[in-house]
């Protein structure tokens, strides 16, 4: 191997900064930004001793798009399509967080029907997000087939959501004060059918993957996360619930009409990759429950409050927290009374979860790092924003 000499490495300041000096018996490894389990363009610098990780440092920002700056250049409504692009897997939750924050700022009451539709599409989207995670995680662990089964199910959701929103991935379905358009007539029926189908598939998921000895060997006891560390790093969502904390924004600060539904928040106390895995799989069932309840009591009425296309909210600031597939999404909007936001801050759950990685990966093996990375369920565009 060539010896590592930082003075000859021009242009890559991250590497030079990470370089510890003498690398005797150690190896600096750049995992990413083009790496099969980097889930997009994440780069992790690792200091390895054999296969053991001594130090890890993620380098992010490869697809940073400065959404927060864009928000200041556009009117409140014009920024809406950007929200579908922050986290492409759970676009609906971001839609909701931004729309909700602006609604709070202005004081708009969202019609009942729109609230129910929002719940259903967000939960459908959550299921599709978890299915993608499930498939991708198993790809990281070297199983090629489950991702196809997951995508088979996900296609059904995408078909439903396409009929509602017209697109299959980057939805901008929410508007300030409601949703873009009413759902088609057979929406409820299709949702119920899908829930039935997914429930019949879950035992297969369990038998094929969850109970699998090899998978359990790869997940159990890997990346153990204690509640205190999770709290100080700001971990939320399934990562936090995998550590045994019964915390879910849908319960703790019920937004929309979530307080009208009965649902269970799955938690596991082990705090390892397997616990996070199980939380997500159980959340599929939780989402199914919510969809069933919401669809069966879908009220009639308008789907959007009357809101002018360009409006000036009163001065002030508002935050909206939404439970996304990856954790607590918060959008802070600050208005100076003009037609454009003064400041928009997007709090991405993946950002906080990702910062945990360096802590979790220390002392594990390279294969475990891949497993931990997968179990955090990272969507890089959301982290980079």
């Amino acid at each position: 191997m060539q010896t590592f000499d930082p003075s000859t490495m021009r242009g890559d300041i991250s590497s030079i900064r990470f370089e510890p000096g003498s690398t005797q018996d150690k190896m600096i490894l750049n995992m990413g930004p083009q790496h099969p389990s980097a889930h997009g363009v994440l780069r992790i610098m690792l200091e390895l001793d054999g296969e053991y990780i001594i130090r890890a440092e993620p380098v992010i920002g490869y697809i940073h798009r400065m959404h927060e700056w864009i928000a200041e250049q556009k009117t409140y409504l014009q920024f809406m399509p950007n929200m579908g692009r922050v986290d492409y897997l759970h676009a609906m939750a971001w839609n909701w967080a931004y729309a909700g924050a602006v609604e709070r700022l202005v004081g708009i009451q969202v019609p009942e029907r729109a609230e129910y539709i929002r719940v259903v599409v967000t939960e459908l989207n959550r299921i599709s997000s978890h299915l993608v995670w499930w498939g991708a995680y198993l790809l990281d662990l070297g199983a090629f087939t489950p991702v196809m089964y997951a995508f088979d199910d996900r296609e059904q959701i995408l078909d439903i959501l396409q009929a509602v929103t017209g697109s299959r991935l980057t939805y901008s379905y929410f508007t300030i004060g409601g949703v873009y358009e009413d759902v088609p007539a057979d929406f409820s029926k299709r949702c119920t059918e899908f829930v039935k189908r997914l429930r019949s598939r879950l035992p297969m998921y369990r038998d094929l993957v969850t109970d699998n000895m090899i998978l359990r060997g790869r997940c159990e006891g890997i990346g153990e996360l204690s509640v205190d560390v999770a709290r100080r790093y700001g971990a939320t969502g399934p990562v936090l619930r995998g550590s045994g904390v019964d915390s879910d924004t849908r319960k703790s600060e019920p937004y929309g009409v979530y307080n009208r539904f009965e649902f269970r928040i799955p938690t596991y106390t082990e705090g390892d990759a397997m616990a996070r895995y199980r939380v997500r799989l159980d959340e599929l069932e939780t989402s199914c429950d919510i969809i069933e309840q919401a669809v069966s009591s879908l009220p009639e009425g308008p789907v959007s409050a009357k809101v002018a296309r360009v409006f000036k909210p009163p001065k002030g600031e508002a935050s909206m927290a939404v439970e996304g597939a990856r954790g607590k999404i918060i959008v802070h909007v600050r208005s100076d009374g003009g037609p454009k936001p003064y400041r928009v801050k997007l709090r991405a759950p993946g950002f906080s979860n990702m910062s945990l990685f360096a802590e979790l990966a220390r002392g594990t093996m390279l294969s475990d790092a891949v497993s931990i990375l997968g179990s955090l369920d990272l969507v890089i565009p959301e982290i980079d924003r």
Partner: protein
């Protein structure tokens, strides 16, 4: 609604906020000197760090730390203002290691210097990026009175409660039932 622990923070102002309108239960005004003590208090109470963000105002950079408990509507916002000329504030990453990246992000966007930060350099922006994109032009900056709700302004003594400012008539939230918003017609 205001948690009792806030009394131990040495805050200049603690203002209860309307959760339904702002998503926050209390706003705590601090100074760079008191922030470390404040987050230590929150750490003892078991608060979770949500984010650290900043905003460019006339008075300086306003840094807002959002915290919440695992349960219930409990979001707190800790805010402090640092001047444009010397934007330094102690890093809280010693207490909340998760603040590390959030503070680096604030450094990216605003150039705020977090003293005691272990690793303060560009996070989201490229290493050779020059400038800080969210810093506004001098003319575009607004003061606190322009971006904060009237109730908060009154509570911290920046506005007079009896005589509402004529340029901020809509600062009070409209009735929640009011579905129609006065818009500006093109």
């Amino acid at each position: 609604m205001i948690p009792e622990c806030l009394a131990a923070m040495g805050a200049t102002h603690v203002v209860a906020m309307n959760y339904a309108a702002t998503g926050v239960v209390a706003s705590v005004s601090l100074t760079p000197e008191t922030i470390l003590n404040a987050v230590e208090v929150l750490d003892k109470e078991g608060y979770l760090l949500e984010d650290v963000s900043a905003s460019d105002l006339k008075e300086g950079f306003e840094i807002a730390y959002h915290f919440s408990l695992f349960e219930g509507k409990s979001r707190l916002v800790l805010r402090l203002i640092v001047s444009h000329d010397a934007p330094t504030v102690p890093s809280i990453s010693r207490v909340y290691p998760g603040a590390d990246w959030h503070e680096r992000e604030c450094f990216d966007f605003f150039g705020i210097d977090f003293t005691g930060h272990p690793n303060l350099h560009y996070l989201l922006l490229p290493e050779d990026f020059e400038g800080h994109p969210l810093v506004k032009a001098e003319k575009a900056r607004k003061g606190l009175v322009d971006v904060m709700p009237q109730t908060w302004l009154v509570a911290v003594g920046l506005a007079n409660p009896e005589v509402p400012k004529p340029e901020a008539p809509k600062a009070e939230k409209p009735e929640p039932q009011n579905a129609i918003v006065a818009g500006v017609k093109e």
